[in-house]
């Protein structure tokens, strides 16, 4: 066991899979010599060689296309998109090609590509370094979508993702790279050091894709979270004294609907939280699923706490960010009746 932050945990997952399988390689903008703008690939080129950690041209569509071709030819490429906000130029290659290749060729061809990309705000990154586009990808059949919230999960899920034969979009909530951010920008930054999920085995291990985790058992209301919002909601629950059951979805697609339904059927109330904009976000799917599975159990409308339907504004970052207060208000709302 070692104490790792999320960057180190991701780095460790990459290092280990590269060590174990020569078919694994990394590619992306600034990932090679420099080790990535967030340092997730630091040291990997030096260790595994220039041929396995490739600095690429700034062309996200080209990166994903190259990864698809590599995947078809037997490799397991891990492509980094420098910020999730910059994944859109690759959208056609991801949606029309990567996601559908196995289906359209009836299994003759497939590309086991993992696309890693830092997402989320709270780092004063303005509207093009803060987005959470997961809801766009969960609507695309053929993709799995993963978003860990802590170092331990990050490593185990990334190894699973790389070993998985399906294409996976692996979002990294960058606000939690260095510590579990609880949504209060005025508090001193916490580190992963000492956090139970910051204790990470140095060796190989996996966490299955498609399994949610219960962050905190409870009976009053179910709070569905993932990514950064796991920690914000955890703090909000703590502060509120509400006996909420909190779930960290970890994998958004395929969703662990069983875990979700079981919890809501027990608590009979539900709050859905994410940082992405509200309309048409992944939260809408969660609401729809929960009301389909648990309608007869529900005692109050399911609440959504999300980013507003505007781009992420630079100056008003903390008014945009769905912080503890809004989560507490939503839980109270769900409990009111």
């Amino acid at each position: 066991m070692a104490s790792m932050n999320m960057v180190q945990a991701i780095n460790s997952a990459l290092d280990i899979t590269m060590e174990r399988d020569q078919n694994v390689l990394c590619l992306g903008e600034d990932v090679g010599y420099f080790g990535g703008v967030f340092r997730c690939t630091a040291g990997l080129q030096e260790k595994h060689g220039q041929h396995r950690v490739l600095d690429t041209p700034i062309a996200e569509a080209g990166i994903v296309a190259a990864a698809i071709g590599m995947g078809v030819n037997g490799l397991r490429p891990v492509a980094e998109i420098q910020f999730a906000d910059y994944i859109y130029p690759a959208f056609d290659q991801i949606v029309s090609e990567l996601a559908r290749l196995r289906y359209r060729s009836s299994g003759e061809f497939y590309a086991p590509v993992t696309i890693r990309s830092p997402c989320g705000g709270g780092i004063r990154g303005g509207q093009t370094h803060s987005q959470s586009p997961e809801g766009i990808f969960t609507h695309v059949c053929g993709l799995k979508v993963v978003m860990p919230s802590n170092p331990y999960d990050a490593k185990g899920l990334l190894i699973s993702a790389i070993e998985d034969d399906d294409p996976i979009i692996y979002f990294e909530p960058k606000r939690c790279y260095n510590g579990p951010f609880d949504g209060d920008p005025d508090k001193a930054a916490q580190s992963w050091n000492g956090h139970p999920k910051g204790e990470v085995p140095e060796v190989y291990y996996t966490i299955p894709i498609g399994e949610a985790a219960i962050v905190r058992p409870g009976s009053a209301v179910t709070v569905l979270t993932y990514g950064t919002m796991v920690h914000v909601a955890e703090a909000a629950i703590e502060r509120s004294d509400i006996d909420a059951e909190q779930i960290d979805l970890r994998t958004l697609l395929p969703l662990d609907l069983e875990a979700v339904a079981e919890s809501v059927q027990k608590t009979r109330r539900c709050v859905v939280v994410h940082e992405a904009t509200r309309t048409g976000g992944y939260g809408a799917e969660l609401v729809a699923d929960v009301q389909e599975e648990c309608f007869w159990h529900l005692e109050a409308p399911i609440q959504r706490v999300t980013g507003w339907d505007t781009p992420y504004p630079h100056a008003f970052e903390w008014d945009y960010f769905p912080g503890q207060d809004r989560i507490i208000a939503a839980m109270r709302c769900a409990l009111e009746v």
Binding site: G62, N73, L101, D166
Partner: protein
Amino acid sequence: MSARYHSKLRIPEAPFRPRENPDYSFLHLPSPEDVAKPDCMADADTIRQLAFSMVRVLDDDQNAKGAWDPQLPVSELLEGLRIMTLTRLYDDRLFRMQRQGKLSFYVKCTGEEAIAVAQAMALRSGDMLFPTYRQQGLLLARGRELVDMMCNCISNSRDNQKGRQLPSLYSWKEGNFFSVSGNLATQFSQAVGWAMASAYKGEDHIASAWVGEGSSAEADVYHALLFASAYQAPVLLNLVNNQWAISTPQTVACGGTTFAVRGLGFNLPSIRVDGNDLLAVYAVTRWAAERARLGGGPTFIELFTYRAEGHSTSDDPDAYRPKDEWHSWPLGDPVARLKTHLIQRQQWSDEKQEELEYTLTEELTEAWGEAESYGSLQDGPHWPLSSMFDDVFKEMPAHLRRQRHQMEM
């Protein structure tokens, strides 16, 4: 009506439109002897001229000439002629079947047969093909069973794509023929990734990708050129300039020069070739494949040809270009040209060609009959309905199992 601006915009135009008389004499066609053949490992910047010129082997009288003559044995030429002829007859048959309602759609490659056939001949079976919908000749040259191709087109119970794809969007894993995408150009940059993987693994296989001149406007082509150049991937990047993209003339996509020139911006060897000359296409492909295999990296090839028929079964070309413009095409018909060449060399005759066509037609009839015995698009049998949910993922997740169950209720 409101005032009108006095526009100064330049609008790219078609050379000819319906009711105009096509006259392609403005094309500069060098003679086969005019174009030198460099060593296949020549520095790209010493052979730029090949992008502006045109490699030809068969001259206007269909005699093989010049440095690029690949000196193929007659047996191979005859095989090339056979597969080109088969391709044409196959297209005619499936087109007719579409008109009879047996296929939902079809795309012919008439007039362009030399490209796929010669290129398949010049490559090795371990080389990976990333085609568009107009390279059915690759399959025929690599020996794909006619029945299998037809089953693929009618989505029946023996369709290796389980009824999921439109006709013409083939896939053939054992033949190293990549699943054809409905989205234009995406395969071009994927092929580069495939080739990078081959080089990374230290293998000798190369990739070969095709794209239409119209589709070359898509980003994927730029990325293919750039990545191929950056990593010197062993890949052939073939641009098929058949003059038309549905109704849009190549002038809209080309930027007032040759397409081949675009490769020079990435310091790639870039060669324009008479795409209706099987010998020239073979020679250029062979040159590029050898270069790639020797570690010389990618080559960009513009194959200059003409789309003789409509874009697909969905359109009528007479609405946007002169009727029978093909007959004014100065580079002729690739099948007729090779046939003439072989006849002139006393290796073939009109009778033999007729006989060949007769035999191939029989084969096609038989294959079609067999294909239909496995089911038709309209009435099946198809794959079992539940297979619709397979292959979205390697293993079916719960939500799809639920949906499959719901459908079956």
